[in-house]
Symmetry: C2
Subunit: 272 residues, 2 copies
Amino acid sequence: MPRTAFFVSDRTGLTSEMLGHTLLTQFEDVNFRRITLPFVDTREKALEAVEKIRQQAITDQCRPLVFCTMIDNDLRAIFQFEEGFTLNFFEAFIGPLEQELGRKSSHTVGKSHGIANFEEYKNRIDAVNFSLSHDDGVMPRDLAEADVILIGVSRSGKTPTCLYLALQFGIKAANYPLTPEDFGNHTLPKLLLPYRNKLFGLTIDPERLSQIRQERKPGSKYSSLENCQFETEEAAALMRHVGVPYLNTTTLSIEELATTIMHRTGLVRRVY
Amino acid sequence: MPRTAFFVSDRTGLTSEMLGHTLLTQFEDVNFRRITLPFVDTREKALEAVEKIRQQAITDQCRPLVFCTMIDNDLRAIFQFEEGFTLNFFEAFIGPLEQELGRKSSHTVGKSHGIANFEEYKNRIDAVNFSLSHDDGVMPRDLAEADVILIGVSRSGKTPTCLYLALQFGIKAANYPLTPEDFGNHTLPKLLLPYRNKLFGLTIDPERLSQIRQERKPGSKYSSLENCQFETEEAAALMRHVGVPYLNTTTLSIEELATTIMHRTGLVRRVY
């Protein structure tokens, strides 16, 4: 029987989900059912949410966990009830922070994931459009504009990582696929030579690569283990030879890839 | 003089950044300088991080805020020092949670943004590839596979929203652009008729739309306020007429758009 965890928020629920998820992953042997209740911004909706949690407590015969990021004190108080085990994010931290900063918080709902300003929003959309328009088809002048250029063989994880960098951090990430023509003499493709400092490589285990490619083109030379071995070895040799930093993507999530690239290149996020 | 806030983490820093950011946005009149210190997973790196914070305290003549999501007790203890004001997320919540669940947490580093399992990872990449390959060029059979189909005029926000839904939630979101050929008789394009229940509309204020389009095609009919007014009015009229739920994207962030669509359609995230 899974234990139910509710993520309750007056806005998107993203902070509440992340906080709760981070804590729940520390209890590996418990099976959690996760339910997000976003946009709970009135007394009526709060009472409705509490009722849902009460019903779940009856079904589960066990009180649900409630991860709560409500800002309003009165709404928050509604989630202090016997049938739920509530952890209040703002309650724990806003008081000490107010004291340290020597001022009251604004208690304003929905600040953290809203549009901060048009400039920041534009940066982000521009970065997304940049990544999209340069996915697997790079123009020389675009490389000059890029913050970082990911290189690697087809299906090594460049595209989702570029998109994540753009969407989450507002970073213009270009994507240059290494193909068999680029191998052999362990030198960078000519197009990339002026942008050496922007390059970051992604490698991948050949077994995993073959597995991923088989799903797209089953039985092809492209997806054969032998070819994947050749391509990954050549790509890694090239990166080592020319001194491009690289990461093996096989066991890393997109978040880990993106944040490691930011960390190693010294790039700073443009969007929070 | 801005107040410095450090986000310290043993892994990606994403949780620390989000929790810290959520708290800081409650202090609108303070100017914060944000520095993320990710992958602090050894005693040496922790001492190095503390030294950085100490130096910043001297520069600022004011102690920095330190938002800390370290799991390891010993590493965490290093961040309790006079020259920094540290808020510890795990310290606050993991104890009460252990008591409620009646078991010890695993105190394992880096669970929350790692690859949970290959299946979940594959869902996510599949969703990203789905959104990418159907961006502004929908095939009938793909619509059947989509979890949700966003409709709206060009530049109303469909593409970044689709990508966010795919990357963050593992949702297959297709994208159908409404063009002037679709207007006039307030009926859905034929292609979409079988998938009415999957449709979700994005609208946008004509002034903002014109501003966005001008950046791409300055001086064109496409970006003129008059044309933007025509397209947005016709699109909204069509959505109202056929009963497709819709959202005005003008003042909403991508996070707000994506979570609102999830909430209203009842879709459940496939990836945490």
